[in-house]
Symmetry: C2
Subunit: 497 residues, 2 copies
């Protein structure tokens, strides 16, 4: 008879096989599946999800987990595995099947309605969906339990340990400095021109350049791939099978920074310990941590001048239309910042202001201080306050994001945490490694990847997210490095000194 921990692992391997199959089905659906296959795929996917859930929450698995928990050292790897599984079990068993089914049904219907409402820019169509999202989310909060605010257990699902208070402290540090910086940038007489980044860039050339980027930064193409999909994403079916997607558009930076962003997620996944593969210990520790790594490779590395000191000659050779644009012009163009209406197109400075709007609205909707019927008005007023612009319609306002249609309240702040944390980790790395810009301008990314692997990626899901921040950075989440760095970077770009 095998030990309880081995029995637990066997169970987890079963659940993993089903989840990996579902993930492959999703990847295939977004990259290759013929459109006529959607219905059968949905049916088959539902069967696999149900089986995975039933095996996971079964009495047998719960009994094995209990036994394993009483035998392992909590400080050991196996102790960490038990902790992670217990948390997942706890969350899944607290939510009644009816509520989970209702959420899933609501997500499917809500998505359809949202697509229509956004297309017609008609908030009145979407309002009942959002009301139900809020109602169901309150039920989730009640089931999971909380002391201070219903937002706490809801956001904790995505970022373990986070609360409304935690995010408020984070946003309080960045709100005013960002609003001020946006205003400074807006007032600069020296605005970069990025019009030359839009044009006809051959897809094959974009793809070839993206592949060279991946190889150069250390994404392992023997254990991963790059495909194209309408919305870029990263998924994986094991530590050794990590799939990135990007898209090739008229706007050249789309493929380049999309690829680097997803590669950041991907390298995090690829570098979990092999022995943890197919268990919940493998993979990134939280959404905020994951985003910190996609942003590191996209922004701190990919949007740095040093990076392009190394790559710009290759880019110019690949796209001869760039021949008459010098490095400085290109660097300023890919870092252009201006208040815009759409979050997913926002730059490093304004992005977190978009998130802040959503966070403030989510907490308000959940505790009732912002009635759902007032969402468009409040949204527009906050955009005016933080970004100095007012959406001309709800399609470009409160209807722009998919999240609320599917019931995903509590998710947005992890994007900002990622941006902020990426700078903290970067500073810690610079203390250990010295001049990172010198390395990047020489195309030497290996020490950077090695450091991230040692400190973060190889830790997988072993530690609590906030413990890992302290372990890597020596402090808790702190927005100071982010604010300092982007102030410096953008003052130089906009020649504000």
């Amino acid at each position: 008879m095998s030990s309880p921990i081995d029995q637990l692992k066997e169970r987890l391997y079963e659940v993993n096989a089903l989840n990996a199959a579902s993930a492959l089905m999703d990847w295939d659906q977004q990259c290759y599946m013929p459109r006529g296959a959607a219905e059968a795929r949905a049916e088959q996917g539902a069967v696999l999800s149900k089986m995975a859930h039933e095996i996971f929450v079964s009495d047998e698995t719960q009994a094995i987990l209990e036994k394993a928990g009483s035998e392992v050292d909590p400080a050991s790897e196996e102790g960490a595995l038990v902790r992670v599984v217990k948390r997942d079990m706890d969350q899944r068993t607290k939510l009644p099947v009816e509520l989970v089914t209702e959420l899933s049904r609501h997500g499917a219907i809500g998505h359809e309605v949202w697509v229509e409402a956004r297309a017609e820019s008609d908030y009145s169509k979407f309002q009942p969906i959002l009301e139900k999202t809020v109602d169901l989310t309150r039920q989730v909060a009640d089931c999971l339990g909380y002391t201070d605010h219903p937002y706490d257990p809801v956001t904790d699902q995505f970022e373990e340990g986070a609360t409304k208070k935690y995010w408020e402290d984070m946003f309080d540090t960045i709100r005013q400095p960002l609003v001020d910086l946006v205003a400074e940038i807006k007032a600069s007489p020296d605005q970069p021109d990025d019009s030359f980044l839009t044009g006809s860039f051959q897809e094959a050339d974009q793809r070839a350049f993206s592949m060279r980027l991946l190889e150069a930064i250390g994404f392992d193409l023997t254990r991963g791939r790059l495909d194209t999909a309408p919305h870029p994403f990263c998924t994986n079916f094991s530590v050794n099978d990590v799939r990135l997607t990007t898209r090739f558009k008229d706007y050249l930076p789309s493929a380049i920074f999309g690829t680097l962003h997803e590669a950041g997620h991907g390298m995090y996944e690829q570098n979990s310990p092999q022995g943890w593969d197919r268990t919940p210990l493998a993979g990134g520790v939280s959404l905020g941590w994951h985003e910190s790594q996609s942003r590191t490779w996209e922004n701190l590395i990919g949007r740095s001048k040093a990076f392009w000191q190394f790559f710009y000659a290759d880019l110019q050779k690949t796209f001869p239309g760039l021949a008459n644009k010098d490095l400085e012009t290109f660097y300023r163009a890919v870092n252009k910042s201006e208040p815009s209406l759409i979050r997913v197109e926002a730059d490093e400075v304004t992005y977190n202001l978009h998130i802040m709007v959503r966070f403030e609205m989510e907490t308000g909707m959940l505790d009732g201080s912002i009635p759902v019927k007032d969402v468009p008005a409040v949204w527009n007023q906050k955009y005016e306050e933080y970004l100095g612009i007012t959406p001309p319609d709800d399609a470009r306002g409160c209807l722009q994001d998919v999240h609320w249609s599917g019931g995903l309240l509590g998710y947005f702040p992890t994007y900002s945490m990622g941006n902020i944390l990426s700078y903290q980790v970067w500073n810690a790395m610079a203390q250990d490694l010295g001049d990172l810009h010198e390395m990047m301008s020489a195309g030497n990314f290996q020490p950077i990847l090695d450091w991230l692997v040692a400190k973060v990626y190889s830790q997988g899901n072993r530690h609590l997210p906030q413990d890992l921040i302290r372990q890597v950075c020596g402090t808790g989440l702190d927005a100071t490095p982010y604010i300092t760095a982007i102030r410096e970077k953008y003052r130089e770009i906009y020649r504000l000194n």
Copy 2:
């Protein structure tokens, strides 16, 4: 409480979801998967197969099947479903788990040894594997049960109702006529030249032309795809998700006829009734029937003069190197026939002789009349007798096929059945539709596809294979149409009259 037949369908949908996921994993592995992912993929695949098997043979499923069987009309669709499931249940429950596991392990090891033995052309390495294949196959035969010959239940797994005697009758009709025709062809002073079919044909052009073929013949690309893989195959995850693969080589016919062959399999799958999707009633009725349809589209249609009367101008435009080759030259080149050593490269005339060798050897090995140690000698002697050539080594002789390494005895004759049956079905169609060549030369494939859908594809797996032959052709399996047609075709090509 739902009816037993509905409960049965629910079970079958569960098994289907797991099998579809496994099939998608296989497709992905052959088309896209990074090589480093193999180990995790194998582990995950094993979990899904085990689950599918356990759900299928579970006491609950058996009880539901029993109940459903007692309630449905055997002549109804649901009766057919119960019959098909019962047959599968019967075969799976008759084989003890240990034997199935042993076969699976033997297949994995056997494949490795075969790859090595073939590379080194060393039969002594492969002999112990083949001995074990024969031994395990005898055990399978004993478990499944038989009256006349151990080959009977073994081949029945692949072609329901077939026996050694059934195949012998089939081969007896074609042996002498084929041997004679091969000799006639060999003696012709007017041999076609096909050297111009090998050269540098751009992959993108081959792909574009293949896609135009698929569209023209009626393969539904909204419910299917074409990808590339080292070995062409067709798989599907539902009636509405049929995946073909082909390969683009220096030898131009490889992609063209590979695509048409797989499209034949694919259109058979695509045209099962929608209501049968995700149940075992959907899909081709047997291996022989399936091969009859791939061969119909590859050979009777794709290698006809009429087909190229319609498509040759497009092909010449796509590959300007063909400009100085006229239609007749091209038609004769793609129908060149000559005794060769390798089955998978064989033409329409010689192909079945390759199969006959294998069939005679399989029955002999199984009943002990051909000792496994004598396989190379017997093989070479039969090639000399039927094809007039002797393999210079075992790599190009008895070590060429993958089948025997994995335990697949009893499978080969279904290839010949496909070739033979395709001509019977073709004659039946010509009686209904009139001049098929006129249709094809006008690019009018719709009536042909419609007829095949009505008579064959829409029947899915509802009837016994041999009943379907009688239903469609009015007789049992009969090689006369095949022999008559290829004699006529090749006498014209080789100018033997």
